[in-house]
């Protein structure tokens, strides 16, 4: 076994050597994706179910392409249109799917800990594709891959994560990964959207002023406001948020230095990012999406071993 774990539930469980192994392997898969035939036969005897209890565009398509490029058989499951609406439990649904001889489960769920629960109760390998406000490990891995590719490494690089930190599993996974790999991390946003004890718990800097954060960082990873997860009023209007924390070209030009902009998607244009930034040369957003396939291929490949 090349990784210290049988499942990928979160960055929390990965050693820095595991992260290094995944990122190095992804380099090889990125090369595979440049070939005329963008496919390898490694997982041709493996069946994978993509179990999505929550909406997703990028992650689901990215996993599906990664699986197909590895020659795995794939089955897609979305909660809407399934027997979930008839009252079937998560464990029943999964056990029924597994009895059709499925080897791996890629799973997204709105409940924090859902993939951990499955990993304890079913024999298949579980890969977390986002659980509630907990973790989104493959997003953090592809973000790290993109930074490493652009800046030549992670150690000592300054990454600012900007926006709705409180409700973001991307932020949670990114903070843990970047700290494990020796990067410096800052979170920035309105005080109401930054959890209180983040600085002590993870050793990150906290900044409430956007321009100060942008001046400090090499890379700004900008997050969406997750209105669907907010059940109380944490800021007045999106317009006000955008005025204080929206990134536009004028602001970037005023920094006097070049920084890279990342975003896990989907972007709310005009809120956290203006179009003239999202589509500019500063932006790594589409490279992130491209790298996502290679990184997910690496994760699936490394977790597919029989022993």
């Amino acid at each position: 076994m090349q990784l210290g774990t049988r499942h990928l539930l979160g960055i929390r469980d990965l050693a820095s050597a595991d992260i290094e192994t995944i990122l190095d392997t992804a380099v090889s898969f990125k090369e595979v994706l440049q070939r005329p035939i963008k496919k390898v036969p490694s997982l041709r005897d493996v069946t994978i179910v993509n179990l999505f209890y929550e909406n997703s565009t990028r992650t689901r398509i990215s996993f599906e392409i990664a699986e197909k490029r590895l020659s795995a058989d794939t089955v897609n499951f979305t909660a809407s249109g399934s027997s979930v609406s008839k009252g079937e439990t998560l464990l029943d649904t999964v056990n029924n799917i597994l009895s059709m001889k499925v080897d791996m489960v890629v799973m997204r769920h709105s409940a924090t800990g859902a993939p951990h629960f499955l990993a304890r109760h079913v024999p298949a390998t579980i890969i977390n594709a986002g659980d509630g406000i907990n973790e989104h490990p493959t997003q953090a891995l592809l973000d790290a891959f993109s930074i490493r590719e652009k800046l030549g490494g992670l150690e000592g690089r300054r990454v600012a994560i900007i926006g709705d930190i409180m409700h973001s599993r991307v932020a949670m996974s990114n903070i843990q990964l970047l700290k494990k790999m020796g990067a410096e991390v800052m979170v920035a946003g309105p005080p109401t959207l930054i959890p209180k004890h983040l600085a002590e718990a993870f050793g990150v800097r906290v900044e409430y002023d956007l321009k100060t954060a942008l001046q400090w960082c090499d890379v700004a990873n900008v997050l969406r406001i997750q209105l669907e997860r907010q059940n109380q009023v944490l800021f007045s209007t999106l317009r006000e948020y955008s005025l204080a924390y929206g990134i536009n070209k004028r602001l970037l030009d005023s920094l006097g230095r070049q920084i890279h902009i990342m975003h896990p998607g989907p972007i709310n244009r005009g809120v956290e990012l203006d179009s003239d930034v999202a589509d500019s040369g500063h932006s790594l957003i589409l490279e992130q999406v491209e790298n996502g396939v290679a990184v997910r291929m690496a994760v699936l490949y490394l977790l597919s071993g029989k022993s």
């Binding site: 090349q2 090889s28 005329p36 036969p41 490694s42 490949y301 071993g305």
Partner: protein
Amino acid sequence: MSEQTIIMETAQLELTLKRLTHQLIENHHPFRDTCFIGIQPRGVAVSDFIIGYMRQLHPELLIDYGRLDITFYRDDVRNSIHLPSETFLPFPIEGRKVVLIDDVLYTGRTIRAAMDALLDNGRPSRVELCVVVDRLYSRQLPIHPDYVGRSIDSIVTQKVKLYWDKEPRVVLYDTL
């Protein structure tokens, strides 16, 4: 402790590699339609030497030389997960002659995987195989080398390894 015999010493190995280089030149000069590919990881040390010597002999010619990793194409890939090495093919192989270079030819399974990996990068007009050591009578697939440094008789319990350090050499181990 396993018993070991050196079957090729440094001077002899160098002489053999130079002979292989001359044979490749004889058949492929001036290399317009040919490219050379070392198989990762251990074939590359050998191919680096061969191509280096070839370029020394023909500095006026452009010689296409790349490296191919076969990890994802192994037929035992999931029995134990191996980490890949780099694949570097900065030239087209479509319609050209390809010479694969490896250190030891044994069961033939590595070369089978290499041919699959190669064909995903294009359709060569012809593929040849150059190896330093050919372990006779141990093939599990119908694969035959075109250029051989040394053919040896060996049995299943023996191992043959090419070392490429300060003192390059080929060693035969008895593991029984």
